[in-house]
């Protein structure tokens, strides 16, 4: 069993619990924190489990561009 995958799995589980705990706080800025945590989890799954880290730079960049645009537009809408 790959140690990197185990560590990523643990990290993702902890981030999931943290994001749920944060959601009980109704402060406006919490929305940004929840989005940020979701983005980190997305990268963890895409690059570690899905092995996008081994893909061509264009694919890796495409993942980052998609995620940046997604988060950026939602942050603009939440303001």
């Amino acid at each position: 069993m790959k140690k990197d995958n185990v560590m990523t799995w643990l990290f993702l589980m902890v981030l999931t619990i943290i994001s749920v705990l944060f959601s009980t706080n109704r402060a406006h800025s919490i929305g940004y924190v929840i989005l940020g945590l979701a983005a980190i989890k997305f990268i963890g799954v895409a690059f570690q489990f899905m092995e996008f880290k081994k893909a061509h730079t264009i694919w890796k960049t495409s993942i980052y561009i998609f995620l940046f645009l997604f988060v950026f537009v939602i942050v603009i809408l939440l303001k």
């Binding site: 069993m1 790959k2 995958n5 185990v6 990523t8 799995w9 993702l12 589980m13 999931t16 619990i17 994001s19 749920v20 944060f22 959601s23 929305g31 929840i34 989005l35 945590l37 979701a38 989890k41 997305f42 799954v45 895409a46 570690q48 489990f49 899905m50 092995e51 996008f52 081994k54 893909a55 061509h56 730079t57 264009i58 694919w59 495409s62 998609f66 645009l69 997604f70 537009v73 939602i74 809408l77 939440l78």
Partner: protein, 191 residues
């Protein structure tokens, strides 16, 4: 033509192959735009979205997130064992992945049942229109993912599957995971 080195940074071989790569980006784009439109409406009808969000079962949503992450971990482990030609362990981890998928579907079905019993259907309000459309489509993706995993499991047991098949199936499964990682915070936590 078969690729022998699936780890090389070849543009034509992203995880799962070029076709799967295109499908994954199309799916992410579709769900991404849908979620952005949902957030737009969420700002327009903030009170409705907040009250509706509170009627979702966050515990089930959280358990399902953990189940999909865990099944993704099992799938990645299964692929690693397959690459090391340890087919029995690869099959074992693919079975665990399928189990995670079935548990996800079980919890999600229960949540759907709860919502229908409470009269929270597609036409209840804008929030629940998005909730039903997005989660039911995702549910269908998970069902298709399980069918694909069963087919490669059969191939692994018979020694007929190759690494391209396994990686393409794994990429589809991880795509279900990625979509859920976008759906969960916006549907269950944001509003």
């Amino acid at each position: 033509m078969t690729s022998t080195n699936t780890n090389s940074p070849n543009f034509y071989y992203p995880p799962g192959g070029i076709l799967m790569g295109i499908i994954i980006f199309l799916e992410l784009f579709t769900y991404g735009v849908s979620l952005i439109v949902m957030v737009y409406y969420g700002q327009e009808e903030a009170k409705v979205f907040h009250e509706s969000r509170l009627r979702l079962n966050i515990t089930i949503g959280t358990i399902n997130t953990m189940l999909l992450i865990t099944s993704g971990f099992f799938m990645a482990t299964g692929v690693a064992y397959f690459k090391n030609k340890n087919f029995s362990k690869a099959a074992f981890f693919i079975k665990l992945t399928i189990l995670g998928g079935f548990l996800f579907l079980g919890f999600k079905s229960f949540e759907f049942y709860e919502k229908i019993e409470a009269g929270l259907t597609l036409g209840t309000n804008t929030f629940f229109t998005f909730y039903w459309l997005l989660t039911v489509f995702h549910y269908i993706h998970v069902v298709v993912g399980i069918i694909i995993l069963f087919s490669i499991l059969r191939g692994v047991a018979k020694g007929e599957s190759n690494i391209e098949d396994i990686e393409a199936s794994a990429a589809f499964w991880h795509m279900c995971d990625l979509i859920w990682l976008l759906l969960f915070p916006i549907l269950y936590l944001l509003f």
